[in-house]
Subunit: 343 residues, 2 copies
């Protein structure tokens, strides 16, 4: 029987002498071949909904670097799109949605219907699974309910003031929205696993700036519901939760959401996170993407520091935030070489 | 002999049954009279450099609300302006500077010359001191070296990627820039105290997203130097350090910078901060500005929660971030009433 991929062994709690490595946004704009591929679809969502293009995007970094995981090429905003909220991408600025200002607009497609609309995503997962080597783990993902809700409430990323204000002004409406997102996201992740995903990541990209009471209400509680619902749907694969910017609220997230492993952001030291996570839990992170842009001695020092910070338990090497378009592919090759410790 | 203002008593370590309150950006755009006053100067910097206008701006909120402190009306970017970097403000977007891309540009005016250029600021402090009641404390301030450096390196606020990259790519240049800012900022704060400021606040508005090693290098170390230099200049007044977004790095800041008191941001619970600050240190914060926008029951609950979170030691009530232009003055009146516990 083939050995389990290194990433899955670590997610199961094993400490490996060389941490497995993958890179958030490893299929992306820093690769010239991705920029070329991207021109073949009119819109970014069209690209995501093309199983052939999504599969090719996933394969591109794997051809260049001996990475330990592939991650589905998709976007966290396919979920609002699938429940009937218009989503579009402004070049160089990011996603836009019509803000949920009017309560009449708070009517969404059913989860069943949403999952039908997302069938191209599951087809992409099947194709990717067939294309990648056995030792490469395949990660499925979704945005966490609060992060997706912030985009829906604000109409864009970045500032979360309006979304947080909505929690104060019409908290029950927001709770209901989060419940909708929990159900659709759970179904969406379960379908990815049925199509071949080996493990899952929940991206809480906007965990920052939340007072502890709101963090509990809009982040910890919906994430715990999402994980529990996934388990209720019979999904047993490991789930990595990544509460970016959680700061002092990291511990509450680590202990009360039920995730299997934790993504650690750039500003949080691995040893600090280790001391606050349940014993033996795998941690993932957290090289500064700007160290990767810089390269050279600064990169080598930052890699060494990262490995040392996480050395106390199971570790998956990654960045603490997505790779930036400015990163040179040669620096990524150097990073992988540094982590793998070989020539 | 008159009693010390409540704010200073708390900064000296006293626990008061009713916390003193002031509000970051209490003189500002949420007040219609400020918006009117602002039209009397052509540029925002002209406004800051007019002692008469700056004094009037400071007095406006004091006429409306029984606040315990006034804070100098100025901007953290008067320091780069004074050392010879062009600063301008784009309406609705924020400040702009020519980014420090070229090493030839890294030549600055001397601290002595900068302080001469900032004389209208000290005249404003004198006028404000003469205008406010005795029981109202007067706070002077500056931006922390790293925060000011991010604006200088990036040319704007918000994203700090280029500034962080500079730390990796030309760290010694950045260290030298931080040293320049330490010296000018120390002189600038000392002049404010000579002109009448009772205490000081150092705004580290961009403490977020820094890996621990960079947090130590660019935030803790320059802030410690700044506080030490201030003491060397004979300044003995309390210094509040506000490392907004420090997250898990808050503790390092609390213990190694030498500040007298700590500002706590919105996402950090008062009790968590208390447990990590030196025993008996005054803490300031941290109501969510969006709770103030919302008003009503949500505001009352958030105020109660904030007071309870900080109840274990000396507390100055404030927001965890500046008040937003959307906040209604009536909500501010209600906030002060709630904190003061009176009719």
């Amino acid at each position: 029987m083939a050995e389990l991929p290194a990433l899955l062994r670590v997610l199961n709690g094993e400490r490996l002498p060389t941490p497995p490595i993958w890179i958030m946004r490893q299929a992306g704009r820093y690769l010239p071949e991705y920029r070329e591929l991207r021109t073949r679809a009119k819109s970014f969502l069209d690209f995501c909904y093309s199983p052939a293009l999504a599969t090719e995007a996933v394969m591109q970094p794997l051809r260049r670097f001996p990475l330990d995981a592939a991650i589905l090429f998709s976007d966290i905003l396919v979920v609002p799109d699938a429940i009937g909220r218009k989503v579009w991408f402004v070049e160089g600025e990011g996603p836009r949605l019509e803000p949920l200002l009017d309560v009449q607009a708070w009517r969404f497609e059913t989860a069943e219907r949403a999952i039908q609309r997302l069938s191209p995503v599951y087809e992409a997962v099947e194709r990717i699974k067939a294309a990648i080597p056995n030792e490469t783990a395949l990660i499925g993902f979704c945005g966490a309910p609060w992060t997706v809700a912030t985009y829906m409430l604000q109409g864009r990323g970045g500032e979360k003031d309006q979304a947080r204000r909505a929690l104060y002004e019409r908290g029950q409406d927001v709770d209901a929205l989060l419940d909708v997102l929990v159900e659709v996201s759970a179904q969406h992740l379960a379908q990815q696993v049925r199509a071949g995903a080996d493990c899952l990541q929940i991206f809480e990209s906007w965990a920052e700036g939340m007072p502890p009471a709101l963090f509990q209400r809009a982040i910890v509680s919906p994430t715990a519901k999402l994980v529990a619902r996934l388990r209720g749907l019979g999904v047993s694969v490991p789930v990595i939760g990544f509460p970016r910017g959680a700061g002092a609220n990291f511990e509450a997230y680590a202990k009360a959401t039920g995730v299997t492993a934790l993504g650690v952001d750039t500003q949080t030291s691995g040893s600090w996170a280790r001391a606050r996570a349940p014993a033996g839990m795998a941690l993932q992170g957290n090289l500064d993407p700007q160290a990767l842009v810089a390269g050279g001695d600064a990169l080598a020092a930052a890699v060494q520091d990262t490995v040392a910070q996480f050395a106390g338990g199971p570790h998956i090497f990654n960045l603490g935030h997505g790779i930036t378009p400015e990163a040179k592919p040669e620096h990524v090759a150097e990073l992988v070489r540094l982590v793998k410790g070989g020539a």
